[in-house]
Amino acid sequence: MSLAGTMGGHTRKPWLKRLADTSEPYLYSAPSLILIVTVMLVPLALGISYAFRDIQLLNPFSGGFIGLDHFRALGEDTAFYRALKNTLWWTGASVFLQFTFGLILALLLDKPFWGRGVVQALVFLPWAVPSFLAGLNWAWLFNPVIGPLPHWFFALGLIDQPTNLLSDPHYAMWGPILANVWWGIPFFAITLLAALQAIPRDLYEAASIDGATGLQRFTSITLPFLAPTIAITVLLRTVWISNFADLIVVMTGGGPADRTQIVASYIFTQAFRRLDFGYASAIALVLLALLMAYSMLIILLRQSLLSKD
């Protein structure tokens, strides 16, 4: 080619042909690129742009660019800081309890017993229940008029009188957390069970011949084998749960007195109750940044753990 180029203009291709040659790779990748841009990037950019504009559905004169005003307001919004604190609490307790019970369930289901197939299918059931339905169901369970739970708690001596847990400012958060744990256990149980079943059985046999007790086999074989799965599922669940407002919106609506308001439900309240889309977008952007930072942290942690191997 370069040789031909030095020979002068006679051997050069017509410009249309050259254009076709250079644009060829772009043309091949164009369909998927266009699809990605229209479906993913355009809505994302629009959503982000809302955060810098004054968009209130009930105010026809809104829509102007206001810069960082929303973020300044957010910095002074005590409701937002309380929601942030609640989010930590809600996410931490939910993930921890879901993981713990999920792991126990997976270990139990890993042992062969009669009717295991049926039990495995049943365990998966809560995951198949729509989250709104689960929220309603649990809200009714906590309701002393129609639900049994307050009466049971009362009978056990846990509470003084059968009142609704969801309306107690100190313990209201436990309601959605309990529902969330019930709803999310199957995810951990099924993924951890799959990982457990991938561990070669002869490693356990070798370990028991080497003299390991059941607990030692668990810590020196099961846990190291599960670690990558645990890391990735906990990361995923943390992000999902901190974004997951369905149960809270359905069960408490963030109340009483914002005691169960998490950032995700606060966004929902701002956008669809106060109809202030601009402010809601600004909060969402902050949540996005926080979750990205968290994900990067976990990925870095995982990388450093893997490179140690």
């Binding site: 070669p200 002869d202 046999e205 070798a206 370990a207 028991s208 011949i209 080497d210 003299g211 390991a212």
Partner: protein, 361 residues
């Protein structure tokens, strides 16, 4: 080190019976090989000794103590698995010292044991590596090292060489034998490879269908197989079998030709019997003396030559070191060495002194 004694051991999965009553006494320091085709129960027997399978009936004793209900970790035995079963998240040194760490052996003692074992097995350069960074042969050595660091009462080997290529298998076979001569450890070795069984064993236990067929020294099994199964399983190329009817002074083969034999026991007269002869005991006669046979196929192995013949319509394998047969025509003459004939009765079990070990020697 310890003796192991097995009494009327049975194993069944539900109604499906795998072992039908095995009796075996293994002396202190003995190397016993369990050999048999797939599904004969040899691995099940080994795993029962290890404690990885429950005992349906019977008794296992290690050093005179009943261990039927003892957990594997309390039996003080070591096992080398076919898959090696190395802990992938531990280094070679950690793999080897795992059992010592579990027993809370002092760190320096454990380190010395690992060093000694790794020296013996040539693993010193790899101590800090993980199993996935090792070749198959090196992994095999680590599995052996893991077994020898603890100096257990007995070593169990479950087809430890079957994942290696032929050359490496030969080499490791010799190393296992050397290691046994060195450690004098009671060892039970399971294999389906009769060459491994012959070369390694002090005593071979040939198994078939969950039943012990014969127990004896390798040459015992080779020279005096107790029945048709052992005769056919031990030796490569396998023994030739000729079916016929017992008559006075010999056997009338199926094609009505007569094979003279010394003394046919009287109770066999008129019965269906099987004549066995090993391929190396069939003599090819260059001078055309003997029975005429058609040469079908020649398989030179380098070391010797395997010939596939048809003798009176019956297939016959011959093994010879004489390369002259490569020039032989389609017809050759063969004689069956009388003193090497094996006679098996109607039930497949061996009939008397047709092949005296003294005569064979």
């Amino acid at each position: 080190m310890a003796s192991i004694s097995i009494k009327n051991l049975k194993k069944a999965y539900g109604t499906f019976s795998v072992l039908h009553g095995v009796d075996l006494d293994i002396a202190d320091g003995e190397f016993v090989v369990l050999v048999g085709p797939s599904g004969c129960g040899k691995s099940t027997l080994l795993r029962m000794i290890a404690g990885l399978e429950g005992v349906t009936e019977g008794e296992i004793q290690i050093d005179g103590a009943r261990v039927n209900d003892r957990h594997p970790k309390d039996r003080d035995i070591a096992m080398v698995f076919q898959s090696y079963a190395l802990y992938p998240h531990m280094t070679v040194a950690e793999n080897m010292s795992y059992s010592l760490r579990l027993r809370k052996v002092a760190k320096d003692v454990a380190a010395r044991a690992v060093t000694a074992a790794s020296q013996k097995l040539g693993l010193e350069p790899f101590l800090a590596r993980r199993p996935k960074a090792l070749s198959g042969g090196q992994r095999q050595r680590v599995a052996m090292g893991r077994a020898i660091v603890r100096q257990p009462k007995a070593f169990l080997f479950d087809e430890p060489l079957s994942n290696l290529d032929a050359r490496l298998r030969e080499q490791m076979r010799a190393e296992i034998k050397k290691m046994h001569a060195d450690l004098k450890a009671t060892s039970i070795y399971v294999t389906h490879d009769q060459i491994e069984a012959m070369t390694l064993a002090d005593r071979i236990v040939a198994m078939h269908g969950g039943v012990v067929q014969q127990v004896g020294s390798p040459l015992d099994l080779y020279d005096r197989p107790a029945n048709l199964f052992v005769a056919g399983f031990i030796g490569s190329p396998g023994m030739n079998f000729l079916e016929g009817r017992a008559e006075k002074d010999g056997i009338r083969l199926r094609d009505e030709s007569f094979m003279a034999m010394g003394d046919v026991p009287e109770h066999l007269l008129g019965q269906q019997v099987t004549l066995g002869i090993r391929p190396e005991h069939v003599v090819l006669d260059a001078h055309g003396q003997g029975m005429p046979a058609h040469l079908d196929l020649v398989e030179p192995t380098g070391f010797g030559i395997i010939l596939h013949l048809t003798l009176n319509g019956l297939p016959l394998k011959v093994f010879t070191l004489d390369r002259a047969v490569l020039q032989a025509g389609p017809m050759v003459a063969v004689t069956l060495a009388q003193e090497h004939l094996h006679l098996f009765g109607p039930d497949g079990s061996r009939i008397g002194g047709t092949s005296d070990p003294a005569a064979a020697a």
